[in-house]
């Protein structure tokens, strides 16, 4: 019945997912973003487990829809997409490739998030220096803690005078 062996189908599924962009940072795929936790193939059907980035991220449902469409287009007959909250997503799961794409796109990639997240909050002190993704200068300042989406902050480079976004460590 199934002309393709299971291992190939798993590879097909991952390849299809690698082409599904994050609608809010389209330069990243869902694989780069590190939100695909599991891909299980059984015959003609596939189940994908995703972890949401932020609790209220409006892209969560769009991504689930895109994942479903991509896998149907890749030839799967039955596609299930499940969400799993724990362990919570962290920016540490963004791949090296993803970080490079972010920097090329003009978004400063996140630094490491501590296991307990304690370093994230320095109450009423400035956040650590973030290097400008254009000129590389560390002489930058934060303009706003929240950018166009919850996952980013707005910065300005004092050296090249360009504004940029920073993907916040989470």
């Amino acid at each position: 019945m199934n002309p393709v062996v299971a291992d190939d189908r798993v590879a097909v599924a991952w390849a299809a997912l690698a082409a599904v962009p994050d609608p809010e940072v389209p330069v990243l795929s869902v694989i780069d973003l590190g939100i695909v936790r599991e891909v299980a193939v059984q015959g003609d059907s596939v189940e994908v487990v995703l972890t949401p980035t932020y609790s209220g991220c409006p892209a969560t449902e769009v991504i689930a829809g895109s994942v479903r469409d991509a896998l149907l287009a890749a030839g799967f007959g039955d596609v299930r997409v499940a969400h799993r909250l724990a362990p919570p997503w962290t920016t540490d799961w963004i791949s090296a490739e993803g970080r490079r794409k972010l920097a090329d796109y003009g978004i400063a990639p996140p630094g490491p998030a501590a296991a307990d997240g304690a370093q994230v909050v320095r109450l009423h002190r400035r956040a650590p220096a973030v290097a400008c993704p254009r000129c590389g200068s560390a002489d930058t300042e934060r303009l706003a803690a929240f950018g166009s989406t919850a996952c980013k902050a707005l910065y300005r480079c004092r050296a090249c005078r360009e504004p940029f976004e920073h993907f916040k460590p989470l």
Binding site: Y54, G56, P88, W89, G117, V121, L123, A144, F146, A150
Partner: protein, 291 residues
């Protein structure tokens, strides 16, 4: 082809013609079977939801674009947290209610949010006469600190779903606390006018703070079963973190007051009804409406 129903006037005696709601009937309220675990989860869920609704009033009205975006991003996080908690509350309650039914079809007396979050936060309309940006950042800071401490403890809840929601929400609450704490310092240690308005905001918020640390039978059941902390467990840590920021903001913690508000018991101030009227009207008028 027949003309779309929405263009047809209803004949006399027929139900009003509402596109998407042919019967024209409004959705009936649901009634919750309150048990301590349901009530415990609803207290946190409703606090997140109603605070988010107040923050959302700033959408398009922020003092600067960046802050407009920051306030609504925090509202989004809070709504996401509330959705998870309401889904859990629906499962614990057992009648099969989903997050939307719990948010949009409950009456005021079945809401369990802290009274603080329903107070007007922005000078916006006739039914919301008080509050300004200082109220907004101050209240958000007091709440984010409280929620952060709550999530920290809920991350090891005996209820796995609650622990998962908390583990995620904790990371978000840290950013909220930091952002709002920055603003408290900026206003408190800013100009005479900003300091005066921040102090006035603290005077308005303070009478509602006691409720954050009350302990009642619901807390005791939650604590004993490992579901989550009793509210009074949070008081010492909360005061320490708030006092640290207040010191930089040249504010001091006001003395304790005897008044205890009762939103977590389902007895609300006059403001919640107006919030629910706005928040629920669409689902009440067009039951199960979607777009």
């Amino acid at each position: 082809m027949a003309p779309p129903g929405s263009l047809r006037s209803p004949p006399p005696g027929e139900a009003p013609n509402r596109p998407g709601n042919p019967s024209g009937a409004a959705a009936a309220s649901i009634t919750i079977q309150m048990t301590p675990p349901v009530e415990y989860v609803l207290r946190i869920a409703d606090t997140c939801l109603i605070h988010a609704q107040r923050l959302a009033e700033w959408c398009g009205h922020g003092p600067v674009l960046e802050e407009d975006i920051a306030l609504t991003n925090q509202a989004l996080d809070l709504i996401g947290q509330a959705r998870g908690l309401l889904t859990l509350a629906g499962r614990l309650e057992g009648q099969g209610f989903d997050e939307d039914q719990l948010a949009f079809l409950r009456d005021e007396h079945d809401f369990r949010n802290l009274t603080l979050v329903e107070q007007p936060m922005r000078r916006s309309s006739a039914h919301s006469p008080g509050g300004d940006f200082a109220d907004t950042v101050l209240r958000s800071f007091l709440l984010a600190t409280w929620l952060k401490l709550t999530w920290q403890r809920l991350a090891s809840s005996s209820e796995p779903e609650l622990a998962a929601i908390a583990g995620k929400a904790l990371k978000e609450a840290r950013y909220h606390q930091q952002h709002c704490g920055d603003w408290v310092v900026r206003l408190g240690d800013g100009t005479d006018e900003s300091a005066r308005r921040l102090a006035a905001a603290l005077d308005r918020a303070w009478p509602y703070v006691n409720e954050m640390f009350q302990r009642d039978a619901v807390d005791e059941v939650a604590q004993a079963s490992g579901l989550g902390p009793a509210r009074d467990e949070l008081a010492v840590d909360w005061q320490r973190e708030v006092a640290e920021v207040f010191a930089d903001a040249k504010l001091s913690l006001p003395p304790a007051t005897p008044f205890v508000s009762t939103g977590t018991l389902g007895r609300h101030s006059e403001h919640l009804g107006f919030i629910l009227a706005e928040m629920q009207t669409l689902q009440r008028s067009f039951p199960a409406g979607r777009w």
